[in-house]
């Protein structure tokens, strides 16, 4: 029972990271039709900015908690700005040329990983977090590392904020309408392109949060971490249904839990395989993903 609880909470923590990455991917895809390979770079930007500013910019701050929070905030800001710049400089000039936009993000992801390796080396860096995160809380006999709670809570907050933003603000309305039918939104005289930069910034911030949390979860940050997390986020996006935040959230939980359970009860690595198998099954049964949104499959 206690093992099961630990696995469940850990799976949810993992799912939380997947959701943070997948939500941005899904929004960007839904609105712009861009499969953003550079999302892995956003994760890395968030993680490395936090790691770097913690050691260099905020080294004078004594409280480890405050120092971590400041550094993490910095990571989010840099992640969001970086993502917005990518949209403005690399994506916008290729407006409506989807294949070229995708390829540019592929090139960026490759060049970016190489650049990070050139500057900070290929080794993973130790990620300094408040010691409290590595303590455990005992719940019903299970010793659960505290960072899992933080990951789940953060993802829940981001999910809530995203839903508020999408449902209660004017820009949220434009984004939702754009996902539904972009041509119609434009026909109504609304400049959707501003919304493009916005979803990139929002997606970049969410990915940076995932980057910081991955540092907390794995205790280290490495140049390739973004890419490997990204692949599972892709799976989550496809299973959840492209363009659907709610679908991503459900799929992230399903994928995170499945991975944890099978990696433990079967053997290490089987979980990853089962997740891919799950993807295959979902595609055979429902090519449009769980949420059944528009995209990708032919009608």
């Amino acid at each position: 029972m206690s093992t099961w609880l630990l696995l469940t909470i850990t799976g949810l923590g993992l799912g939380a990271m997947y959701f943070l990455i997948a939500s941005g991917l899904s929004l960007i895809y839904g609105l712009m039709g861009v499969l953003n390979f550079a999302h892995g770079a956003f994760i890395t930007v968030g993680a490395y900015s936090t790691w770097w500013t913690e050691a260099h910019l905020f080294s004078g701050v004594h409280s480890t908690v405050l120092r971590f929070l400041l550094a993490a905030l910095m990571g989010l800001v840099v992640g969001g700005v970086f993502a917005a710049l990518v949209e403005l400089i690399l994506i916008r000039p290729l407006y409506n040329r989807h294949i070229e936009q995708v390829l540019v993000t592929v090139g960026l992801s490759i060049a970016f990983v190489a650049l990070v390796q050139g500057i900070w080396g290929t080794d993973a860096k130790a990620f300094v977090v408040p010691p409290w995160l590595h303590d455990t809380t005992t719940v019903a006999g299970a010793h659960i590392p505290n960072d899992r709670w933080v990951e789940i809570a953060t993802a829940a907050v981001v999910l809530g904020l995203l839903q508020l933003f999408l449902r209660r603000t004017r820009y949220g309305l434009i984004i939702r309408a754009g996902v539904e039918n972009r041509a119609m939104v434009q026909a109504l005289g609304i400049d959707v392109r501003k919304a493009f930069t916005l979803v990139f910034a929002v997606g970049g911030i969410a990915a940076a949060v995932a980057g910081v949390l991955s540092g907390v979860y794995f205790n280290v940050v490495g140049p390739d971490d973004g890419t490997s997390l990204l692949i599972f986020a892709f799976i989550v996006v496809v299973i959840g249904g492209l363009g659907s935040i709610g679908g991503s959230a459900v799929a992230a939980v399903v994928v995170g839990l499945t991975q944890q359970y099978t990696n433990y009860y079967a053997s290490s690595g089987v979980g990853d395989m089962v997740v891919v198998l799950l993807l295959g099954l979902v595609l055979l049964a429902r090519p449009r993903g769980l949420a059944g949104a528009v995209i990708g499959a032919r009608a």
Binding site: I99, L103, G107, I119, D272, G296
Partner: protein, 364 residues
């Protein structure tokens, strides 16, 4: 007209491959271009890698540039060739030729099964699904549940089981000829396939899939054909790769491996046979030689902020790739196209996220 076709169809390719075949006989050196004389094993190994990747890029172009299937999982089939042949030979002690036949058969079956599932979705979703399947293969090779692949150590081939002509550093020239022969075979197969009647349908699907459907044909079937042919050829290339590097390592299973093939094809020119081959050769050469540029004295003298990016070949190649996507969507082969839409421009219709997302009037 007949004479021109004979010339361009047979004489030009044969002359090019023939000229490349004499490389092992050239004992002089070209300063700056190669460190050692051309006939030296080191240079021949690099040249063999170049032509092999030229061929692998061409197999990828068959589905990407000619059929409009953006797969991020082509590496899986190369890895099948690299690993399965080696596992059969080294772990299971099979005869070399039996192992090769088995590997090709397995790759063919797997391509049919996975192709059938992933072609349930189109466009970008197809890319994500193929990536996921390739990732499953990568995890399998890394975790190594049956102690076949030896995970991160890699699996050195049992050289006593390999044909003697392909073993040892003195036989590098044979490996080079093998890679070159493979390139020639792939080149002629791809040309035959693309110009056959199903091949015409593949290109029609790339241009406008709906119209193909309206004509009463089933695009799914034709797409699967192209996918299976491309993947099976890739597995054969994987076997050559295994011989060339006398073993298997996880490098071929990495998701980035497919992305590098994509880079090669786009740099050379998507949907162009010579373009893909040239892209593969050029990319492999630069990836190897840019390391030398990074450590050259000119770069050493530069300030640190400039030097770091220049020391990373993949950073430079990624940047070149982005510039090509922006300014030369036809790739190198597109330079000679005289204004006709080439390369990526021809893929606009094929690889779009969803028909409802980009209404035609937005093109204006």
């Amino acid at each position: 007209m007949m004479q021109r076709r004979l010339l361009s169809d047979w004489l030009v390719p044969l002359a090019v491959f023939g000229a490349l075949a004499v490389a092992p006989a050239l004992s002089f050196s070209i300063p700056k271009v190669f460190d050692q004389p051309i006939s030296s094993p080191g240079t021949l190994q690099l040249l063999a890698a170049c032509v092999l990747f030229g061929a692998l890029a061409l197999t990828y172009d068959l589905q990407f540039g000619f059929t409009g299937l953006l797969s991020f999982g082509h590496a899986l089939y190369i890895a099948i060739g690299v690993y399965l042949s080696n596992i059969a030979i080294t772990d299971w002690h099979w005869n070399f030729w039996v192992a090769i036949l088995f590997t090709m058969g397995a790759a063919f079956v797997l391509a049919n099964v996975l192709g059938f599932v992933s072609l349930r979705v189109a466009g970008i979703a197809f890319a994500m699904v193929t990536l996921a399947f390739a990732q499953a293969g990568a995890v399998l090779a890394l975790k190594d549940p049956h102690h076949w692949t030896h995970g991160e150590e890699g699996l050195g081939a049992d050289y006593t089981k390999l044909p003697h002509a392909f073993v040892g550093i003195l036989n590098t020239k044979n490996l080079y000829w093998l890679a070159l022969a493979f390139l020639a075979v792939v080149f002629f197969i791809v040309r035959w396939a693309v110009e056959s009647s199903p091949g015409r349908v593949w290109q029609a699907i790339r241009e406008n899939e709906q119209r193909v459907e309206v004509l009463g044909m089933r695009p799914q079937l034709y797409k699967l054909q192209a996918f299976v042919l491309s993947s099976t050829l890739a597995a054969a290339g994987g076997i050559v790769y295994m011989l060339l590097y006398s073993g298997s390592t996880l490098a071929v299973t990495a998701p980035n491996f497919t992305l590098t093939l994509l880079l090669m094809v786009v740099i050379g020119g998507a949907g162009s046979r010579w373009g893909a081959v040239l892209g593969g050769i050029l990319y492999t050469y630069l990836n190897d030689r840019l390391v030398a540029v990074g450590s050259s004295s000119t770069v050493e003298g530069l300030p640190h902020a400039l030097r770091t990016p220049l020391e990373q070949p993949l950073f430079l190649l990624g940047a070149i790739f982005i510039l090509i996507v922006f300014f030369l969507p036809g790739g190198i082969a597109g330079i000679a196209s005289r204004g006709r839409p080439t390369g990526l421009r021809r893929l606009q219709e094929a690889i779009r996220p969803d028909p409802t997302l980009s209404a035609p009037q937005e093109e204006l």
